[in-house]
């Protein structure tokens, strides 16, 4: 069974919450705020939150059988609601 759009959005909220120190429940992550404001800064070299987040979402889509569609170049300026339909 491939991943639904709804499940992808929930998975994005789970991962963003796990990478954010102030978040205690994925429901606190808004779907209409840009990733650049949701994902924290910091990290060493390539081990930074936007790159790690993208890797995990690509992994989950491949595992679920949705494939690996190219991500929009302005991904950081999109919201969960705008990005999810483009990559599923």
């Amino acid at each position: 069974m491939t991943m639904s759009l709804n499940d992808l959005k929930i998975e994005m909220r789970i991962h963003i919450c796990a990478l954010n120190a102030r978040c205690s429940d994925p429901s606190e992550v808004p779907v209409d705020v840009k990733f650049s404001e949701l994902l924290p800064t910091g990290g060493a070299g390539t081990a930074i939150s936007p790159r790690i987040f993208k890797s995990f979402i690509r992994y989950s889509l491949i595992q679920a059988g949705n494939g690996d569609k190219p991500w929009p170049k302005n991904g950081q300026n999109l919201t969960i609601d705008k990005l999810a339909p483009k990559i599923i």
Binding site: R13, I52, D68
Partner: protein, 324 residues
């Protein structure tokens, strides 16, 4: 007759001297080579060199727009039911590498240095059913049993393989770096923090070779104070740490509250090829401009410049930074 003969001899000698002088002059100042169509060969070579640079820049732009990514996972969907995949049900991995091509431009539009690298991460993580990670969103999950990465604790191994050279290809450095950065959400004194983002600690193994193809004196390059010699191997272990925090004091300027930020870092290297140690420690104080949370005035103090030159001095600097 004798006078005429002497005069002929003098004329011949003079002609020989002039001919020799002309040949010496032509050896000292060769005439500019001219092609059949009348164009200067030197000019044509310069144009060809610039055309080559343009082609290289165009190739770099094309590569950055359509990067040839490497993205591998412990298991593909098509093989999910196979025995080789079931062992990755709970603990899995992914490898994400992207090429990086940087060209530092010079004043005349030509490039000064080229860096070509492959960078990315190998990530090792555990998986859990999405329903168990969704918190209060759980009732809305369509496939409760589907497993997904659990980002509450995982390990990242940053990777960088590449080379750097100058426009003249006189200094060439080939470097490989593999590190380990632990990630996870933790609590200390009631405060949550993400280890791996803020603060982060990591250990890296660096290896490579510095080639000196030919000597070229250039102005403006900072001096290399390391023990690493040209045409020698590089082997280092690097330890890194850094943390950022808001300063818990309230400042008010023009009736606007401002919250200064502070970050500090310490990095150490052990050069096991030359049995030498280096370090870089520093701190930055950032004051946001009143009413502009994304614009900061920075004050930095740093002792030891770090790689690649490992200068040992102390530096103070200030500047303005704008976060987009």
């Amino acid at each position: 007759m004798a006078t005429q003969k002497q005069s002929r001899k003098s004329t011949l000698a003079l002609a020989c001297i002039i001919a020799i002088q002309l040949s010496v002059a032509s050896a000292q100042e060769p005439p500019a080579a001219v092609l059949d169509n009348g164009a200067s060969l030197e000019l044509q070579l310069k144009e060809a060199f610039k055309a080559g640079e343009k082609a290289l820049v165009a190739a770099a732009i094309k590569l950055s727009q359509n990067p040839y990514e490497i993205f591998l996972t412990s298991c593909r969907f098509e093989l999910k039911e196979s025995r080789s995949c079931t062992k990755y049900d709970d603990r899995a991995w992914l490898l994400d590498l992207v090429p990086e091509f940087n060209i530092e431009a010079g004043a005349d539009g030509s490039f000064q240095s080229i860096t070509a690298k492959v960078t990315g991460n190998y990530i090792s993580f555990t998986q859990a059913p999405i329903g168990t990670l969704a918190g209060s969103l759980q009732p809305g999950v369509d496939d409760q049993g589907r497993k997904t990465p659990d980002l509450n604790r995982f390990s990242v191994f940053p990777i960088s393989l590449g080379m750097e050279t100058t426009r003249y290809f006189d200094d060439v450095a080939v470097l490989a770096e593999v590190g380990y950065v632990p990630f996870g959400k933790h609590k200390l004194l009631g405060q949550s923090f993400i280890l791996g983002l803020n603060p982060y600690v990591g250990v890296f193994l660096q290896g490579g070779h510095k080639f000196k193809v030919r000597n070229q004196v250039r102005i403006g390059n900072s001096q290399d104070e390391s023990s690493e010699q040209p045409n020698s191997s590089i082997g280092r272990i690097k330890l890194i740490s850094k943390f950022n925090t808001d300063i818990p004091i309230g400042l008010s300027i023009y009736d606007q509250d401002i919250k200064p930020k502070f970050n500090a870092w310490a990095t150490g290297w052990y050069d096991f090829v030359n049995s030498e140690t280096y370090y870089s420690i520093g701190a930055t104080l950032k004051f946001p401009l009143p009413g502009k949370e994304e614009t900061f005035i920075n004050f930095t103090i740093e002792k030891g410049s770090g790689e690649p030159n490992f200068n040992k001095g102390t530096q103070f600097s200030s500047g303005l930074s704008i976060v987009y």
